[in-house]
C-alpha cells in the first residue's frame, strides 16, 4: 500500500491526460479509426495551465469515489462495521480505499478474517503485517476450531471454502457486527451480478434474491432489525481489470503469490494445485516445478495457479487485459461444483 504524501497539485484526474483506463483487450479494433474527441467533451485549459472547465473523472476515479462514498455512508449509519480481510487482492483494495476515506485518521473499524486453516503461509504473514502497519484490530474466525470441536465436518473432497460460512456468522454474531464490508464484485459471478451494494442478511445470514430492496440513485438504505445485518460491497461495480489497474496506479502491495514465481505443483481438475500441508498429490498425480501465479487467493485446497510469467503489476495488468478466461473459471474448484455454486453458498450466508 502506498504511503500518503502531502503535496499541492491541480486535481490530476480533472486534466484530460492519458490514463491507464483503456481496456485494449476488450476493445473493438474497428473503432480505432474514429477521432478521440467527442463534440460534447468538456476540456481545454487556459494559458496558465489551470483548467477552464473541469473535465470528467476517469472511469477508475469514478469507481474509487463511489466506493469511498459507500464506505463513509456505512460507517456513518452503522454501529459496528467490520471489513472482511483475507489478504486477497479485492480485500486489500477495500482496505486501501478505507484508509483513503478516513485520511488522516485511522480506519475506524476492525478487520475480520475467516481462517480455513489451509491458507497460504505467506498470505497470513502479509495479513498480520498489514494489520500492524495500519494499527487495526484483527478478529479471526477459525474453521479448524469448528472442525476440532465437532461443530463442522471435513468434506470428502477436502475443500474448506464452503465451511467458512459457520465461523463467519459466528464471528459476526459474537462481535455484534451490524455491517460487514466485502470485496465482492458483480463481474465475478451471475449471482453477484444481482446482489445489491448493501445486501440485507437475515438472522441466518441468508441472502434472499427475490426480496431485495431497490437501490436508487446513490441513496443507500441500510435499515435493519435486530438480528439482521448488512453486507456492504463498495467495489461491486469494479471488474478484475479495474482492480489490477488500481493496484498499479496506487502502488498497492499484495502477497507475492499474485506474481510469477517457481512452485511445486500437480495437475488436478484442470488446474495447477500447489503442494502444501493441506494439498497433497495423490499417487497418480505427478509433481513438477512450474512458473505460476495466482489470480485469486483462497483456501490452498481449492485454489489453483495459472502458468504465467507476469512478475510485475504491469505484466499482470497486460495479462488480465488479454486473458480469455474468467478468474473464477480459471482458478476456483468450488465454483465448478455446479453452475449455481455461488448462488447456493450466498443463500446460506456466504460472503
Amino acid at each position: 500500500m502506498s504511503t500518503f504524501l502531502t503535496s499541492v497539485a491541480v486535481d490530476p484526474d480533472a486534466a484530460p491526460a492519458p490514463s491507464r483506463d483503456g481496456d485494449a483487450a476488450s476493445s473493438i479494433a474497428s473503432r480505432s479509426d474514429r477521432p478521440d474527441a467527442t463534440p460534447w467533451a468538456a476540456s481545454g485549459s487556459t494559458a496558465d495551465g489551470r483548467l477552464s472547465s473541469p473535465a470528467r473523472l476517469s472511469s477508475l476515479d469514478t469507481l474509487e469515489s463511489e466506493a469511498i462514498h459507500i464506505i463513509r455512508e456505512v460507517v456513518a449509519e452503522f454501529e459496528k462495521p467490520a471489513l472482511l480481510f483475507s489478504g486477497g487482492k479485492d480485500s486489500v483494495v477495500m482496505l486501501h480505499l478505507a484508509t483513503k476515506a478516513f485520511w488522516p485518521g485511522k480506519v475506524p473499524f476492525p478487520v475480520l478474517h475467516v481462517d480455513t486453516g489451509h491458507n497460504f503461509p505467506e498470505v497470513i504473514e502479509f495479513r498480520d503485517r498489514t494489520v500492524e502497519r495500519l494499527g487495526l484490530r484483527l478478529v479471526v474466525g477459525s474453521v479448524q476450531e469448528f472442525i476440532d470441536s465437532g461443530a463442522l465436518a471435513e468434506r470428502a473432497d477436502g475443500t474448506r471454502n464452503p465451511l467458512q460460512t459457520v465461523p463467519l456468522l459466528d464471528a459476526i454474531q459474537r462481535n455484534k457486527f451490524d455491517a460487514v464490508f466485502g470485496g465482492g464484485r458483480r463481474d465475478e459471478d451471475k449471482a453477484r451480478a444481482k446482489e445489491r451494494i448493501l445486501s440485507l442478511r437475515d438472522e441466518f445470514g441468508q441472502w434472499d434474491p427475490r426480496n431485495q430492496r431497490p437501490e436508487l440513485w446513490n441513496l443507500y438504505n441500510g435499515r435493519h432489525t435486530v438480528g439482521q445485518h448488512v453486507r456492504a460491497f463498495p467495489i461491486s461495480n469494479w471488474t478484475e481489470l479495474d482492480v489490477w489497474r488500481y493496484i498499479e496506479r496506487e502502488n498497492i502491495e499484495l502477497p507475492g503469490l499474485y506474481y510469477a514465481h517457481q512452485r511445486e505443483v500437480f495437475a488436478r481438475d484442470g488446474m495447477w494445485r500447489a503442494v502444501g500441508e493441506a494439498s497433497q498429490p495423490r499417487e497418480d498425480e505427478q509433481v513438477i516445478t512450474k512458473t505460476v501465479r495466482y489470480r485469486t487467493v483462497g483456501d490452498m485446497s481449492c485454489t489453483g495457479a495459472v502458468e504465467s510469467a507476469a512478475a510485475t503489476v504491469r505484466d499482470v495488468v497486460i495479462e488480465v487485459a488479454a486473458s480469455t478466461i474468467t478468474e473464477r473459471g480459471a482458478t476456483r474448484a468450488d465454483d465448478r461444483i455446479s453452475e449455481a455454486a455461488m448462488e447456493d453458498r450466498k443463500k446460506d450466508g456466504y460472503f
Partner: protein, 487 residues
C-alpha cells in the same frame, strides 16, 4: 489446463494510451422483444464474454438444439443462443423468469460501461426506475413487427419522469421485416410523436431535461447496427447503437455546466491525534494535523475550488457563509474538484457542521440557495407491495439525512399511457403518483427537474426498514410549473 493467453503486441502498446470514462446505461423492453439477445450481442461483440462462459453457453445451446443464426462458438460451428449469456439465477432458469436488475460490465477503448439489465415483464416500473435512477442513458427496445406498444409509452413516460439524460430506442428484429425502411420510418414517426407528447428531448435552460432521443434499426440476433453499421440498412445513415453509447455525454458532464455546487456532508473527519500510523510513517507532519477538521462527502453536482465562497445549510438555521480553504483527497491537496468525486473539505470558519448538513455554492454563479422546508410535494414511484395510504407515517431519506414524515394527501395517480393525473387516495405497487408530506424536520429540498441528486429521496417503512418508494421533489403548488410535462 488453464494457461493465460499470450498478449498481442498491439494490446500491450495501446493499454496506456486511451483515457476512458465511465458510462452507465440501462435497458428496458417488453416481453420477447429480444432484449436478452441484444445485451448478449453487445457483450459478445465487445469481447466481454470470456471463453469459459462462451463454452458453457455453447454447450447449453447444443443441448437445447438452438438453430438460430447467432454468433458462432469458438472453434465450432454450433450457433449459440446469445440470450443465454445473460441467463441469471437458478431460480430464474427453473421458473423461466427474470427476477431482478442485473449489472454487467464491458469496455471499449473509449469507455467503460456499466449496464443495468432491467427485466421488462414483472414489476417493470420498479425495475426501470431502479435501473434508470443511475443511468446516463436508457435503451428501450421495440419489436419491429409490433411497433410502439402501450408498454413502450409507459417506459418512455418513466424515463421522462426520471429525467434520464438520453433515450435510445432500438427497433429490433428489423431482419424479420426484411429490413424495410417503410416499417422503420413508421415506427420512428410514432416514437417521435410519443416523445413530443411526453416532452422528451425538450431543452429547457437550467433544467435537467432529456437531451436526446435516438431511434436505430437493429437486429440483435444478427448484429446489424449494434456494434457496427449494417450494409443491410443502406437507407439508415445514423450511428450504430454502440457508437451512440460511446459518444453521448454522461449526466455528470451535462450537469457540470449548471455550476451549482452541492455537497451533502457524510461525516466529520477529526482524528484529534489518532492519526493513521501508515500516514505518520509516511512523513505526515503530526503537529500540523493535531487540530485537523474536514467535512467528508461526495460532490453530487458541479465543482468547487479552493477560495470559493460556500453556504453551510443546516436545516432549521439560516445559511452560514464561509470560504473553502482546502480540498483534501487522502493526502493530496486539490485546487479544484468536480462531481462525482469524494473529497474532504476544510472551511475558513469553525462552524458546527455535522452529517446531514449540505455545503452549497454561494453567490451569483451558484444560483438559488436551496431553502429548507418541512412541506414536501413530490412524485412517488411506489415500489412496495404494501400500498401507500393517507395518514401513513414513513421515513424520508434525503442526501445524508433521514427524517420522519406524515403522508398528508395522495393527490393523484399518473395514467402512464396518456400522462394524465387521475384522482386517488392510495398508491399501489408500480403506481406513480403525487403526494404531499409533512416532515418532522425541514430538509434542503430542490426540484428534481433542476437537481437530480438533491431532488431525489427514498420513502422507507419505519417498521421493517424496506424501501417503499422513489421520491422526486416537486415545486410547491403556486410556484409555476408546467403540470403537463412536469413530474
Amino acid at each position: 489446463m488453464s494457461t493465460t493467453a499470450t498478449v498481442p503486441e498491439s494490446a500491450a502498446a495501446s493499454l496506456g494510451l486511451s483515457s476512458a470514462s465511465l458510462f452507465r446505461f440501462a435497458t428496458a423492453g417488453s416481453v420477447d422483444d429480444g432484449k436478452s439477445t441484444l445485451v448478449g450481442r453487445l457483450l459478445h461483440d465487445s469481447k466481454a464474454i470470456l471463453s469459459d462462459q462462451l463454452d458453457a453457453v455453447a454447450r447449453t445451446s447444443a443441448d437445447r438444439g438452438f438453430g438460430g443464426s447467432g454468433a458462432a462458438a469458438p472453434g465450432g460451428t454450433q450457433r449459440i443462443d446469445l440470450a443465454l449469456l445473460t441467463d441469471g439465477l437458478r431460480a430464474e432458469r427453473e421458473q423461466g423468469i427474470t427476477i431482478d436488475v442485473a449489472y454487467r460490465y464491458f469496455a471499449t477503448d473509449r469507455r467503460s460501461f456499466i449496464l443495468a439489465d432491467c427485466p421488462g415483464h414483472v414489476q417493470y416500473t420498479k425495475n426501470t426506475v431502479t435501473g434508470a435512477s443511475t443511468a446516463d442513458a436508457v435503451v428501450v427496445l421495440i419489436d419491429a413487427r409490433k411497433g410502439v406498444l402501450e408498454q413502450t409509452r409507459r417506459h418512455l413516460s418513466v424515463l421522462q419522469l426520471l429525467r434520464v439524460a438520453h433515450v435510445v430506442v432500438a427497433v429490433n428484429k428489423i431482419d424479420l421485416v426484411d429490413f424495410s425502411e417503410d416499417v422503420f420510418r413508421a415506427i420512428e414517426a410514432d416514437v417521435q410523436q410519443v416523445g413530443r407528447e411526453l416532452g422528451l428531448g425538450r431543452q429547457e435552460s437550467s433544467a435537467v431535461g432529456v437531451a436526446d432521443l435516438f431511434v436505430i434499426p437493429v437486429s440483435a440476433l444478427d448484429g446489424d447496427n449494434v456494434v457496427d453499421r449494417s450494409d443491410r440498412t443502406p437507407w439508415y445513415q445514423g450511428p450504430a447503437l454502440l457508437e451512440v453509447l460511446e459518444t453521448l455525454p454522461a449526466a455528470d458532464e451535462l450537469e457540470s455546466h449548471l455550476e451549482s455546487f452541492r455537497f451533502p456532508v457524510q461525516l466529520v473527519i477529526r482524528p484529534q491525534g489518532a492519526l493513521a500510523p501508515d500516514a505518520v510513517a509516511g512523513g505526515l507532519d503530526v503537529e500540523n494535523y493535531r487540530d485537523y477538521r474536514a467535512y467528508a462527502g461526495q460532490i453530487t453536482e458541479g465543482s468547487v475550488k479552493v477560495g470559493d465562497k460556500v453556504n453551510v445549510l443546516t436545516p432549521g438555521q439560516a445559511p452560514r457563509t464561509t470560504t473553502v480553504t482546502g480540498i483534501d483527497f487522502a493526502g493530496r491537496e486539490l485546487t479544484e474538484a468536480v462531481a462525482p468525486r469524494s473529497v474532504a473539505l476544510r472551511l475558513a470558519d469553525e462552524f458546527d457542521v455535522a452529517r446531514g448538513d449540505t455545503i452549497a455554492a454561494a453567490g451569483p454563479a451558484g444560483g438559488k440557495i436551496p431553502e429548507s422546508t418541512a412541506d414536501l410535494y413530490a412524485a412517488l414511484c411506489w415500489l412496495s407491495p404494501k400500498p401507500l395510504r393517507e395518514g401513513a407515517k414513513v421515513l424520508v431519506k434525503h442526501g445524508t439525512r433521514t427524517v420522519q414524515a406524515l403522508v398528508r394527501n395522495v393527490t393523484g395517480k399518473l395514467d402512464l399511457a396518456n400522462f394524465q393525473l387521475e384522482p386517488t387516495t392510495t398508491l399501489e405497487l408500480n403506481d406513480i403518483g403525487h403526494a404531499q408530506l409533512r416532515l418532522a424536520a425541514p430538509l434542503p429540498l430542490e426540484n428534481y427537474l433542476r437537481h437530480r441528486r438533491t431532488g431525489a429521496f427514498l420513502v422507507i417503512d419505519p417498521q421493517d426498514g424496506n424501501t417503499l418508494a422513489a421520491g422526486l421533489v416537486k415545486d410547491h403548488p403556486g410556484d409555476h410549473e408546467d403540470e403537463r410535462y412536469s413530474i
